[in-house]
Symmetry: C2
Subunit: 663 residues, 2 copies
């Protein structure tokens, strides 16, 4: 069937059509067109309150229908599927091969070379002993490899969560004066973070992290990265006295008020290594195949700088080094958890904030790589895995861990096939913990600062911010709010403001929805916005309006006033242009996706008001849930059958034919 052919409809056999030029075209039935016969607007199938509640709850908590695999299976199969559901290791372990292992060993060793220096650095960022960073790179990856469903997530400490934990705890407790209490609080916060994450997953409330929009996160990460990078000037410049605060102004003033403490040897070496690391990072960004350059650079720098310090130690003084690290595996730390006393609220709050942030990062990273390799990651299950991992971590001297974006990207690029790469990484950390700790004695602090700066600079995403500005000004505003909030106020408040702006945006869209006058596109049944489609023309005697939002208490007054204003403006236009006056107002309800009792009252009132002006008022295409509410509120009786149409086209055709019949 060709383009531009003429068609007919409502035939009992293939249609044949004689055009004005005399040719007869036969048209297959499935392309036929609507008759003037008016279609009834159907009510959705009647459901009881319990059924509706059940449907609603299942959409809220089980939108992905997680149990669909279990349907119509034998008991044995259900058991196997259940085991695989809770322990994804059973899914891939039976088919694990030597070839997969080879890839996983390579990628596991690669991320280990990144994880060891980063672990030490991030622990310092959280004001914790460096060894805790290594402990946190050992137990959690092992637990995740049993419970996690992402194949590419590289688990361990991450910069944002470390930073936030460091900030929030050190506002109340000094890590230098009360190191034991500080460590206790950090472990307790980790426990609460894990408990919170696991509960979110278990209660299937995973969607709550969706309220941290990408725009908010872009701003938050950039703000945190700026603060962290500036704070690292402490290590890079060799400053001894430094603020505990995390806002821009105290940090900057700390840097410049202690100029007497700046050590030029530290600065020269630190900046050189920083330039080296940033260069390797740029190389890997430009040529993704050379990912191993930036992956190997931190460990290489650590080794190089340590050798340098060992060689120079007799000549150069005053360079801070890591110093003694205890050999041996994670000590148990259940007795360190702190469930009473004055700081309990603080550690709960810190746990919840770091829990949310690390969860957001972990889930986002997992989803990103799952999409790239076309497999599914169940958000709620991942939350439970990450949560249990942190709860177990808090009992074995680990602080908050999650899937790190930078290391997962390296893992992916190095060819990781399964979570076994995490096991390999943990083994490498194990070897380090058992045998290599003395080697870090002379590792200088500036190299850790340089590693952190290189890592966090990647979190500043100018392009995303520019894109936000281009596409959505209010998203950009949310982004800037969280950026500036983190820089100048505080991490939790900055986040809260940004979430507030995001929700305000939703409410604004609802409070002031678009309304438009529709016109007919000639020789079609299509009715479109007159402002947008130049070919659309007004239908004489009709005013066709569309409302592009649910009608709620928050906008019902606005919609009523706006519709009356449209009518007034249309009448003025008609007067100046000498056209037929309006006789009927059609409200296209296609985009009115919900209605509440205030909205129903608005519809009723509009009908009354327009009736008084002897204008007919009809609704076109109310969606299922709206139709149900209209029915329940008995408003349909007042509209009757003549007041509801399935499409605007049918409404126009039917009402005009009525007018022709009864002039």
């Amino acid at each position: 069937m060709g383009i531009n052919s003429n068609r007919v409809e409502n035939f009992s056999g293939p249609a044949c059509l004689k055009t004005t030029t005399g040719t007869v075209v036969t048209i297959p039935l499935d392309m036929a067109m609507p008759p003037l016969q008016v279609h009834k607007v159907a009510l959705p199938q009647p459901r009881t309150t319990v059924q509706k509640l059940r449907h609603r709850l299942s959409e809220i908590f089980f939108p992905d229908d997680p149990l669909h695999k279990f349907k119509n299976q034998t008991w044995y199969r259900k058991l196997v599927l259940g085991l695989q559901f809770f322990f994804p290791i059973f899914q891939w372990a039976p088919n694990y091969s030597f070839k997969l292992l080879k890839s996983d060993v390579i990628s596991g060793l690669t991320i280990a070379s990144l994880a060891i220096p980063q672990g030490i650095s991030y622990a310092k960022l959280a004001n914790l002993p460096p060894i805790v960073g290594l402990y946190s790179s050992f137990i959690p990856p092992l637990i995740y490899s049993v419970l996690g469903s992402s194949k590419h997530l590289a688990v361990g400490p991450v910069s944002i969560a470390s930073l936030v934990m460091g900030t929030m705890l050190s506002e109340s407790v000094s890590y230098s004066e009360e190191p034991i209490l500080y460590l206790q609080l950090a472990l307790t916060a980790t426990f609460f973070a894990g408990l919170f994450q696991a509960s979110l997953g278990f209660l299937r409330l995973g969607f709550s992290i969706d309220f941290l929009s990408k725009a908010t996160l872009v701003g938050f990460m950039a703000g945190a990265a700026v603060i962290v990078a500036l704070q690292q000037l402490k290590g890079l410049f060799g400053i001894v006295h430094f603020t505990n605060k995390m806002q821009l102004i105290p940090v900057l003033s700390s840097v410049f008020h202690h100029r007497d403490e700046w050590s030029w040897q530290t600065i020269v070496m630190g900046v050189s290594f920083l330039v080296l690391l940033l260069t390797t990072r740029q190389i890997s960004i430009r040529k993704p195949k050379l990912f191993w350059v930036s992956a190997a650079a931190p460990l290489a720098s650590v080794i190089l700088s340590t050798i340098l310090i060992v060689c120079l130690k007799s000549k150069v003084h005053g360079i801070q080094t890591i110093g003694h690290l205890p050999k041996g595996l994670n000590p148990p730390s259940l007795n360190m958890l702190y469930f009473h006393g004055p700081h309990l609220a603080l550690s709960m709050k810190t746990g919840i904030v770091t829990g949310i942030l690390s969860l957001t990062e972990g889930i986002a990273v997992g989803r990103t790589f799952a999409t790239l390799k076309n497999y599914q990651v169940d958000g709620n299950k991942e939350m439970m895995a990450i949560g249990l991992m942190n709860m177990a971590g808090s009992c074995s001297s680990c602080y908050v861990t999650t899937g790190s974006f930078s290391r997962s990207a390296v893992n992916y690029n190095a060819g990781a096939q399964t979570v076994v790469s995490n096991i390999i990484m943990a083994t490498a950390v194990l070897v380090t913990l058992l045998f290599l700790m003395p080697l870090f004695y002379y590792t200088p602090s500036f190299i850790l600062a340089a590693i952190i700066i290189t890592a966090v600079i990647g979190l500043i995403d100018y392009w995303a911010a520019i894109r936000l500005w281009k596409v959505d000004k209010l998203d950009f505003l949310a982004c800037m709010c969280s950026f500036l909030g983190v820089l100048f106020i505080s991490v939790p408040l900055g986040l809260a403001i940004a979430i507030g702006v995001s929700i305000f945006k939703i409410l604004l869209h609802i409070t002031r929805p678009n309304t438009a006058v529709l016109g007919n596109i000639p020789s079609t049944q299509i009715y479109q916005n007159l402002n947008r489609y130049r070919e659309a023309v007004r239908v004489p005697s009709f005013l066709i309006l569309s409302v592009e939002a649910p009608i709620y208490f928050a906008n019902s007054t606005y919609i009523q006033e706006r519709i009356l204003r449209w009518i007034r403006e249309e009448e003025e236009w008609i007067e100046t242009n000498n056209r037929n006056s309006i006789k009927c107002v059609i409200l296209d309800m296609t985009a009115v996706t919900a209605i509440d009792t205030s909205g129903i009252d608005t519809i009723k009132e509009l009908r009354k008001l327009l009736e008084k002006r002897s204008l007919k008022f009809v609704l076109a295409n109310p969606v299922g849930s709206v139709m149900e509410k209209l029915h329940q509120s008995n408003i349909l009786e007042s509209f009757g059958l003549e007041g509801l149409y399935l499409t605007v086209g049918e409404a126009v055709a039917d009402i005009s034919s009525l007018w022709k019949a009864q002039p």
Copy 2:
């Protein structure tokens, strides 16, 4: 043109059609049908950021285009219109006639007979001296008659605002121990209420009161009415010691813990008058023509009970009466306003809460009667009028006033034509203040209690609550939250909880929107929900989905997962039913009224995912703002022209014809 006739489309002249039965029907062009020619989806007209911002701001702040009357007018006319705009009295005063005056005098005297006893009672409800209630029925109506645009609003103290003011202030300051401070705070709160109301109007933020949904208000009013009615048992039972608190439990325990103070004479007389008042109220409800029965009843009861007490005063003792009231007009009270010191925050808070509540009542009442008589009330202007009235009131010994629902209804039924009825009422109050005050000396307290109970019982709207339950369970939940919150927690917290529930409801609708599979209604171009329309049939090889909400950060993950689940379920259905497999997924975007950057990413990702499964993914009918965002984010380039269609019907027709052309 008859029903069921056959039609053709895309002709250059009137179409003629030969049906299978041989008859030829001529069809006018405007009823013609769409050709297979595919319509392009238009971009909205390009606008700069400033233009968009201007449009957005004018929709937010000036949706009613308040200056439209001023367009194309001479300077003199503009001046006159401006005066009329700010002082509506200039609109009706020139045409005021003796006939209108007659109606207004009758209605003014009727509401005065209601306003005097109610004024005294409501002042007691706010723990203020009774005379303040009369002062508040004198100055504010006069100011409103100059500034207000409603013709039927009867201005004066109202029960809800009085109750809330009494509750909030007496939680911190005892009205019996520090009456002067209490009065100062009440007047200051009135000033802040007025300032807040006038600012809302001036800044055109009137829409903010829309966030108090009807459901919330129904619950709030009922809760407040229950508390107030129970509190009046103090007067009705003659109890002397009573709690200052406003929660259900302390009030009830106060009533029953002081049984020794119950005075049987007071109870007998009080309950008799209460029954009388309730009976007259029922009569007026059943027969609206007899509105004067309930309108006159309070004053009649006051007179009757006062005479009764005067006659019985030698025989019955211990009945509380109003006592001495000072004669004379409102004393100035500018010096009583309290702008410093420890209670400033309290009076600001009280002012804002009472301001919002009285504004909501005043605007709702004004709009109701304006709708009945088919004239417009400008919300923002009304707010300024009510606000200025309260600010002026606070300087002349008046407390918070607004348009009262009960008195306005009486005013309307008594035939009020303009705000002159308010002037008449004020004059009647003036006469009372100057000459009749001594007559109230023996007026018993129980009659005030009975009047208040009768008035607030009307605020309990069972039927509205039942209707909420029937139509919208979540609205009912908001209603119950505010009801129980007010009863058991506190007035501001109850309101806050209810507003929270209402906003949560909006967010829930956005977070978990409806998605549906559409099917074609045979021999039409209509595509509708398969579940709702039994006549709709699946289109082979297509999966047509519609999403009924804007795609935002808060739902983008859900929508992506839900769409993938629809595809999975459809594929399972196809497998079990041996049908053609899906080759194309069409997303009907008609009801996607907005999109943000997260939403755009979701669309991109879906396209990638479906391409990997070799499924075509196209969008149908994106609305203007969505189209604009898609364009700005360069996503349209990846879709190209073949990925966007104006209607689902055109998408199906075009893609199937492509498949036929390239099998």
